[in-house]
């Protein structure tokens, strides 16, 4: 059994405790916004928030998030602004992604946006070096320059 909240909704699932959260979300709950990329926490496509912090769900067993609040890309826009009053609203991040025409194929962008929103919640005005060390997601289309300019546009909100 596994019990956790996803985007504010409580779920009780009859699944193995070692099942990665990614597959619980995708196959058990049918929430496909969170993507499978590598399965070993290397690419970040599966990034979700646990209690507001980015984690890689492909290597996170559901037993380790028992009773926790999980936010996925589908619920990000509805999350209340975090404790940091300087952090941009999640919907502003999504809008910046549209304004800067960031996604190409878009497959990595759920994870990219979850990683960036977690970074900005704790550090609303990151330096380039902080962006580089925190945002390690892989994007095969090479949206990186636009990810950076979108983050820059959100700084000092």
């Amino acid at each position: 059994m596994a019990r956790f909240k996803v985007n504010g909704v409580e779920h009780d699932l009859d699944i193995e405790p070692e099942m990665p959260l990614l597959w619980a979300l995708r196959d058990e709950l049918g929430m496909t916004g969170t993507k499978f990329g590598c399965g070993i926490a290397s690419c970040g496509a599966c990034t979700v928030h646990v209690n507001g912090s980015a984690i890689r769900s492909c290597v996170t067993a559901v037993s380790t998030v028992e009773g926790q609040e999980i936010t996925t890309i589908e619920g990000l826009a509805n999350v209340a602004v975090g404790v940091n009053p300087l952090a941009p609203d999640p919907s502003a991040i999504q809008q910046a992604w549209i304004d800067h025409q960031v996604p190409q194929c878009g497959y990595c962008q759920s994870g990219m946006i979850m990683a960036v929103s977690s970074l900005l919640a704790s550090n609303p005005n990151p330096t380039d070096a902080e962006i580089d060390s925190n945002i390690t997601n892989v994007c095969r289309c090479g949206s990186y320059p636009r990810v950076r300019s979108a983050i820059r546009s959100l700084a000092n909100v």
């Binding site: 196959d27 929430m31 549209i98 892989v138 095969r140 636009r146």
Partner: protein
């Protein structure tokens, strides 16, 4: 439909009082569906079509798949602009995978460019049957959508719609068509101040004959083309609602994890699945000719159970093949065979004999995987004597045909569900059938949908790879340092004719290809042969420039007198990059240029060496002449993307073969450029006003040579093998005077 034998434009009334206008082309084909509505003896298929409804909404159907290149938006812009539709009233849909809608403009366009390209036909067995089946394609590839489908299909359909709507309004008002104008989805009669919306005219327009040859706009008349429009696919990609093939989902769905023969071509011998079958959720273990699959009620359970399956594959003659052996074989063939002609002019042998100086350079690049972010997958549901298919593909029609053929169904009994692609880069083109075939055979055992999904490791080890290539050069100079001869022998096969040829004015040239076949499956990889060949040719021409004691940029310009578009992009890139300025200590600029897919791209790389003797790429400046840009910001995004894709390959990309199989597993040993390693990228679109060129690929070819040429200036070390991560660079031997 109203059809005349000679016409390419069709129109018909649609339910609800609208009109549908389509651009079609003829083809020799066995397909029946289109034939039902067509004049006897002549089959047509529709490449572009649009619909105007009474509520004034225009729906534009795009016959290409969206993999991030923005094609849904750019093709719709072309039709909407020609018909003077209000962009806000335009809806965009992808054309369904049925016979009526194929994109033969691409085949025709490529035929004009260099014959039907091999990547459209598979690499082996380009038989007459394969050629006939070209008519079955709905391909997205070859940087071709906008320049072929857009120019010869979408714009014509849009212009025809506009002329019909004008004719309809003029009839209504009893005025001459010349007195009417169009704007923002209305026809106006300025003399009387009257206007009618396209929606109001749609039902009557359906009664008119479409024009035979509608007049396209001049560029000065564009209202939508040439402006940066927001891509229509992006909003769904920021909130998790965009659906990719992997996202097919239903409650009764089953999941298959697949283990393919690790050595390409090996057959399955035996399986022990006893332990796997006892695992929770496991339904079946299925043995296929070259693989074994576990089917379970979740992917994770299937994959975990597959790890417990013991399988034995036959031994093959390739079980001990290694990359070293493959390259040794290449060297042997290059040394012993003269190969077949790619391009010859003058007398290279004689020029070598009489030369004052000859230089040599032997180059090679490894296999590369595509590594699209969405691992390969395919969901098939057999039910009621038919099948539904969900998979991310660059060619829905071919997928439909393949699933039908493997699944034993008629093509019209297969229903393909459109989705976005989580990257394509050539992996999802027709003839790269692994996963599609397996998913079909596995799903045939069930009456519920079955999703077959490769792990990242399997995706990397069961790809169709960019070929490893070895390429040997000699160049001859006269006593004044002028290039007399260019001698090049490289391993094939040639997938993109002309990629190894050079634009430089060298009187004597001999470029020949020798057999480079191995057991490793190969396919098109973003920019196809241009990515390897441009690294070779643009590096070696750089070697020649240095040997001649000339500035590599000026050396190129001097040899490009007959190629103004090459010259122009070199000049624009060099100027924007500040080529020739005093650089900070430890920095250098490398330059390269290549024409591919109808576009001309020059790149300048600003590089340095870090404390670990590894290259650092600070900035890439690119000038690209693609004729003109339909959607300029999306065009720049494609150029940025192609540069980063090529830079990843140059820095890190290496698939090695060990014991007949791929040695790499996942991103840690097949590393990617990420945020921290992405250089600043400065893109300049050079609008020559020439015919549209492609944009998805042409920025990839020059990047490796531009970087390597910069590193040479900095270190004196000539990189003749990629990737760069395998080299240690010394910062102590800068090349003087450049």
């Amino acid at each position: 439909m109203k059809i005349s034998r000679r016409k390419f434009l069709l129109s018909t009334a649609v339910v609800g009082g609208g009109v549908l206008i389509a651009y079609s082309a003829t083809r020799p084909s066995r397909h029946k569906l289109a034939n039902a509505d067509l004049a006897e003896g002549e089959e047509r298929y529709i490449t572009s079509y649009l619909k105007v409804m009474p509520n004034n909404e225009v729906t534009i159907y795009v016959p290409h798949t969206e993999m991030g290149q923005g094609v849904h938006t750019s093709l719709a812009m072309m039709a909407a602009d020609e018909m003077d539709a209000a962009w806000e009233l335009v809806k965009i849909e992808q054309a369904p995978a049925i016979d009526l809608f194929a994109n033969g403009d691409i085949v025709t366009g490529f035929a004009g460019e260099f014959g039907v390209p091999s990547f459209l036909m598979g690499l082996i067995g380009a038989s007459s049957k394969a050629i006939a089946e070209i008519g079955n394609l709905q391909t997205t590839g070859g940087s071709a959508s906008v320049r072929f489908t857009g120019e010869t299909g979408m714009r014509v359909a849009g212009a025809a719609a506009r002329e019909m709507l004008i004719e309809c309004a003029a009839n209504h008002w009893r005025v001459a068509t010349e007195e009417c104008t169009t704007s923002l989805s209305y026809v106006q009669h300025n003399a009387s101040g009257r206007s009618l919306s396209y929606g109001e005219l749609a039902a009557d327009a359906a009664l008119l004959e479409p024009p035979e040859a509608p007049i396209l706009k001049d560029r000065s008349q564009f209202n939508i083309m040439g402006k940066s429009m927001s891509r229509v696919d992006i909003p769904a990609k920021v909130n998790g609602t965009a659906i990719y093939g992997i996202d097919a989902h239903s409650n009764e769905m089953l999941y298959a994890a697949l283990r393919l023969a690790p050595v390409f071509g090996a057959k399955l011998v035996s399986v022990d699945a006893s332990e796997a079958m006892s695992r929770r959720g496991v339904k079946r273990v299925i043995e296929l000719e070259d693989s074994v699959a576990v089917v379970a009620d979740s992917y994770w359970r299937a994959k975990e159970a597959l790890n417990l399956v013991k399988s034995k594959f036959e031994t093959t003659e390739n079980d001990s093949v290694s990359s070293a052996e493959i390259f040794a074989r290449f060297d042997e063939v290059l040394a012993s065979e003269n190969g077949s002609k790619d391009f010859e002019q003058g007398d290279t042998d004689a020029a070598m004999e009489s030369a004052a100086d000859v230089i040599e350079g032997n180059y090679r690049v490894p296999y590369l995987a595509h590594a699209a972010m969405e691992p390969m997958n395919c969901t098939v549901h057999f039910h009621d004597d038919m099948a539904d298919v969900w998979t991310s593909t660059q060619d829905p029609l071919s997928i439909r045909g393949r699933v039908a053929s493997i699944g034993g169904l008629a093509e019209e009994k297969v229903n393909y569900h459109i989705s976005y692609l989580g990257g394509g880069f050539g992996r999802r083109l027709p003839f790269n059938w692994n996963v599609i075939d397996h998913a079909t055979l596995i799903a045939k055992e069930f009456d519920v949908p079955v999703k077959t999904l490769l792990s990242r490791e399997d995706d990397m080890q069961q790809d169709y790879y960019r070929p490893a290539v070895s390429s040997n050069f000699r160049a001859a100079f006269d006593a004044n340092g002028n290039l007399l001869a260019w001698h090049n022998r490289f391993t094939g096969p040639i997938q993109t004719p002309g990629a190894a040829r050079i634009p430089y004015a060298i009187e004597n040239q001999s470029i020949r290809v020798v057999n480079g076949d191995t057991h490793v499956p190969i396919a098109a990889w973003r920019s196809v042969d241009h990515s390897q060949q441009t690294f070779f040719t643009e590096s070696f021409v750089d070697e020649a420039a240095h040997r001649a004691g000339k500035n590599p940029y000026q050396f190129r310009l001097d040899l490009l007198q007959q190629h103004p578009r090459h010259r122009k992009v070199l000049e624009v890139a060099a100027k924007a990059a500040g080529y020739g300025r005093n650089l900070p200590a430890g920095r250098a600029l490398g330059i390269a240029v290549q024409e591919s897919f109808g576009s001309f791209a020059a790149e300048v790389a600003e590089v340095s060496i870090d404390a670990n003797d590894q290259p650092v790429i600070h900035k890439i400046t690119c000038a690209i002449d693609c004729g003109w840009a339909v959607n300029p910001d999306a065009a720049k995004a494609q150029v940025e993307s192609g540069i980063i894709y090529g830079l990843t390959a140059a820095l890190y990309g290496e698939i090695t073969i060990k014991d007949g199989r791929v040695a790499q597993n996942n991103f840690p040993d097949y590393e990617m450029v990420r945020m921290a390693t992405t250089p600043e990228i400065d893109v300049h679109i050079v609008e020559s006003g020439e015919a549209l060129g492609g944009l998805g690929e042409p920025s990839t070819p020059p990047i490796a040579a531009a970087v390597a040429n910069g590193l040479f200036i900095l270190t004196g070390q000539r990189v003749r093998e990629l990737p760069l991560k395998n080299h240690n660079f010394s910062r102590s031997i800068p090349v003087a005077g450049i």
